[in-house]
Amino acid sequence: MTNHYIDLKNSDCILIMGSNAAEHHPIAFKWILRAKEQNGATLIHVDPRYTRTSARCDFHVPLRSGTDIAFLGGMINYIIANNKWFKDYVLNYTNASFIVGQDYFFKDGLFSGYDAKTRKYDKATWVLEKEGNGIPKRDMSLQNPRCVFQMLKEHYSRYTLEKVSSITGVSKEDLVKVYAAYSATGVPDKAGTECYALGWTHHTTGSQIIRTMSIIQLLLGNMGIAGGGVNALRGEPNVQGSTDHAILYNILPGYLKMPTGSLDTLEKYLHKCTPESKDPQSANYYQNYPKFFVSFLMSMFHDKATKENEFGYSWLPKMDDGAAYSLMHLFDKMYEGKIKGLFAVGTDPAVSSPNAGKVRKALEKLDWMVGENIFNNETYAFWKGPGVDPQKVKTEVFLLPASASMEKEGSQSNSGRWVQWKYKAAEAPGDAIPVGELTIKIMAEIKALYAKEGGVCPEPILNLKWDYTDYKGRFDSLKVAKQINGYFLEDTVIEDKDKKTKTEFKKGQLVPTFGNLQLDGSTSSGNWVMAGSFTAEGENKMAKRGKEDSTGLGLYPNWSYAWPVNRRIIYNRASCDVNGNPYNPKRKLLAWVGDKWVGDVPDGPWPPQANKEKGKYPFIMKQDGLGALFGPGMVEGPFPEHYEPLEGPLAQNPMSSQRINPAIKIFNSELDKVANADEKFPYVCTTYSCTEHWCSGAYTRWQMWLLEMQPELYVEIGEVLAKERGIKNAEKVKVSSVRGEVECVAMVTKRFRPFTVEGKTVHQVGLPFNYGWLFPEGGSDSTNLLTPTVGDANTFCPEYKAFMVNVSKL
């Protein structure tokens, strides 16, 4: 989240779209209700289905799954057409005034530089013109037809009310009602925020949906202010922490880029990954990239990493350029028999990954699988699953008992970037030990084997620093936390030019902030973003419980540690005008007083933008320091464009001749069938969770009181559709897609309504995905037997929320 949970109370208008906060984030919803009580905030819920969130919001607007970009595109069009945008903010803090390169164009759904064969864009043409001295050209009057603002206006002028209404199935009145209510926050003293969750990320255009919302927030001046921002209500307790520490194929801890084959030397890699900007006012903070990367390598290989061996750069595995190794790719390769071993730690892919049928078939091809969890689940017991003959499955499966969260000490980051330390309350039952200890012990055994017998490329294994146990040989999370924070490996002197101060640090002292990291290998930091979670003297800031909240905005700066550098709201410099006076004095997040910022930890100490020599633009992490209306970073285009889901009800995309997102990867094993606009599967289907169960249900299905409240799989069907198909409430039905089918109970409800899309009636149904065959016995199997193996173009986040099914009586 750019802001955090308590900050929701500061908002004047909350758009809940792509999330069901009341059911899945009840305490976040408490803050949303407090915004309504304290400052009369308008709560809007936009969701295909009327849910418990809608029951408590001011109004609910149903839209067809997979059409979020059309809906938001219409809002951009409305904001610009009705002049609701925040002029001062857009001019100074976004790249609206930049001039787009001449040979960039957009025609009929495709941007310039598209290669249909590889389904990839060559982004060479998506550039912004620069002056001779490398500083971007700007037309502050925003009249130049090639300026970003005009290109944006022209791009979204196609999203007229009629077109959007016919795509999304939302009536024009509802559209205007939402647009008007939300765009009213485009004024200095009002703040609007958006809460989204998997409802947005589970689409082939997921990243672009979120980008569209960030464009809206930039236009309305809601980014970086209290009660604003784009807030992801994520689903797992430490999903923010696991993303920061990058258990992901494409990044290293601290969002550092994973090296690829072509970058065979450290120098080449650093050159490619370190952006530089000629504009003195752009902080371009990522220019410090080399310091972070070298410090990371030092944290892995410690004294074995030297300048000579490029700090062990060659020991890191390299990806092939342009290749991807996401969960879907893993199971695709596993299905081909190329994957022999699998670690499945605290996860249940047999229920929660798309096209679960293919996943379960793939698991049978494994030689061995190591599971670490607190409960058994469908993945570990796949060989006992329905339609599987154990005699034919050669996989050796280990299921190691793990400690639950209150049985181990450690830190957990909530999605508001608060890293909170938690203490060990009790011993775990039986032989269960923390996952950390299992990891340490397994790796220690592997290191011993390689030390004794050698093997292929043993250097990275042998040189890995791996002494993270206490004197009793048990996992010491504090030692690891300090290693993540980072140490000075030599006595170093840090002098601060403007403050003219010199501080020296002893060897072995903790790094107080990532500003002190060096690129010569004299400092180590497991994750530069987390550097600063300890003070130089070793005080663990994550365990702080200070209740002071001087600004009254609920920042609580002394409660736990918020990365980066305890900044509670990102891009908070944008909450002030160019001279450093807060736009909204009532909610003062930051103010330039005398010669320093007062309030939240500022985005960098530099004076405000108006000070030409030392002042910096607010978006310090961006290369040119300004909010990106024109965002060339995305793989499928600088401006988000509506594309239909991979499997949708329409034969072609009403907006352009490109039916689906041109940049997504298409999997084509024989189990990856797709049935678009197929009368055998006429209904749009979406999946979601329910309050009583959590994610794959592998935690909550074992608890009798929760299972009693939601015992088995159900499909929610609108009354009109049910009457049409003669399905009665509570009747057993079969929901089938081209990939698989599942039996469940029909829940006939008023909360799903048919949509009129492109003139014809489209029905929508929905199923929860929390069930699996293992428990309760004889219960329903997993919904994900229906979902397609396709994901977002940038992140490969699977498209669970929009595919086509048929519902038939048993």
């Binding site: 203490y423 365990a543 419980r545 209740k547 002071e548």
Partner: protein
């Protein structure tokens, strides 16, 4: 405001319920009940003059300086004389065997050679003043102490409303009372959302304090903050800090379904005091009823 008799009768109901719940402490409760009754009566008809100007320094307050250290909470013309007379009258009933002391104190109060001010200014560390008073008045220090403490308590409690207004809404994160600097004698954890409120025996002020930090030595509770409770009655527990060896009786999960009085609750749980002192802990606030063995008392906290 409840009618006069109402207030007294509700106090009686609370006392009866306390005795009913803790029969083994009934004689202590009965002993102190006249004091409570008279205190309530005095609270009824005591009209204290408004405090004149009070130089309140918020910065110092935020750093932990209580009001009593920033200025005098007592007025010259507070009717302390007739308060003492009333107190002594009820004390005669409460503690008959100290009859001699009460008479001396009463006579001393009547002919005025007791000066209250230096006692009141000395709160909360009043030991010195009490001892030399006891000598001057030839009464036992215990008796003198009871009268003076109750005197200060009545004045502060009567004036509490407009004293508390001064510090309204200012965050107080210390374990001792923001008004008179005394440590709490009993804590109360609310039922629904388990906020902990500390209760000051000297001025009956109640303030919110963290659950996992020791109010006495502000040691961070993760390792040291244990609590003891009786097996089938988690409601009455005692929080103890290994760091400073102090304990605090805690009414766990109290709601406002029935009205209650924290002084009475503190007295009716002195068996917990006794147990904890045997375990080598000391109470955070020493009051008339919660110290048993004379000798250990000297050991400094």
């Amino acid at each position: 405001m409840k009618k006069k008799s109402d207030n007294i009768s509700s106090m009686q109901i609370i006392m009866e319920r306390a005795i009913e719940k803790n029969p083994h402490n009934s004689n202590v409760i009965k002993a102190f009940s006249p004091i409570f009754i008279v205190r309530n009566q005095l609270m009824e008809n005591l009209r204290l003059k408004k405090m004149d100007s009070f130089c309140f320094d918020e910065v110092k307050f935020r750093q932990g300086v209580p009001l009593i250290k920033q200025g005098s909470l007592f007025q010259k013309d507070d009717p302390w004389k007739d308060i003492v007379v009333e107190l002594v009258k009820s004390a005669k009933g409460a503690f008959p065997n100290l009859r001699k002391d009460w008479e001396c104190i009463e006579s001393a109060a009547v002919n005025g050679n007791i000066s209250i001010d230096d006692y009141l200014r000395a709160v909360p560390e009043t030991e010195g003043v009490v001892n030399d008073w006891a000598a001057k008045v030839q009464a036992s220090p215990a008796a003198v102490n009871i009268v003076l403490r109750q005197l200060a308590r009545i004045i502060l409690e009567a004036r509490l409303k407009d004293i508390a207004k001064v510090i309204q809404g200012i965050d107080w994160q210390k374990g001792y009372c923001p008004i008179c600097g005394t440590h709490p004698v009993i804590a109360q954890i609310q039922e629904k959302i388990g906020h902990r409120y500390l209760y000051c025996p000297q001025c009956s002020y109640k303030w919110h304090f963290s659950r996992v930090i020791c109010p006495y030595c502000e040691h961070h509770g993760q390792q040291g903050m244990d609590f003891f409770f009786i097996e089938d009655n988690e409601r009455e527990s005692v929080f103890a800090c290994d760091h400073c060896k102090r304990y605090l009786i805690t009414l766990n999960q109290a709601t406002n379904l029935n009205d209650y009085n924290l002084d009475v609750s503190a007295i009716s749980l002195i068996h917990l005091d006794f147990i904890m002192q045997e375990k080598g802990f000391l109470p955070m606030a020493v009051c008339e009823w919660n110290i048993f063995q004379g000798n250990e008392v000297e050991r400094q906290g």
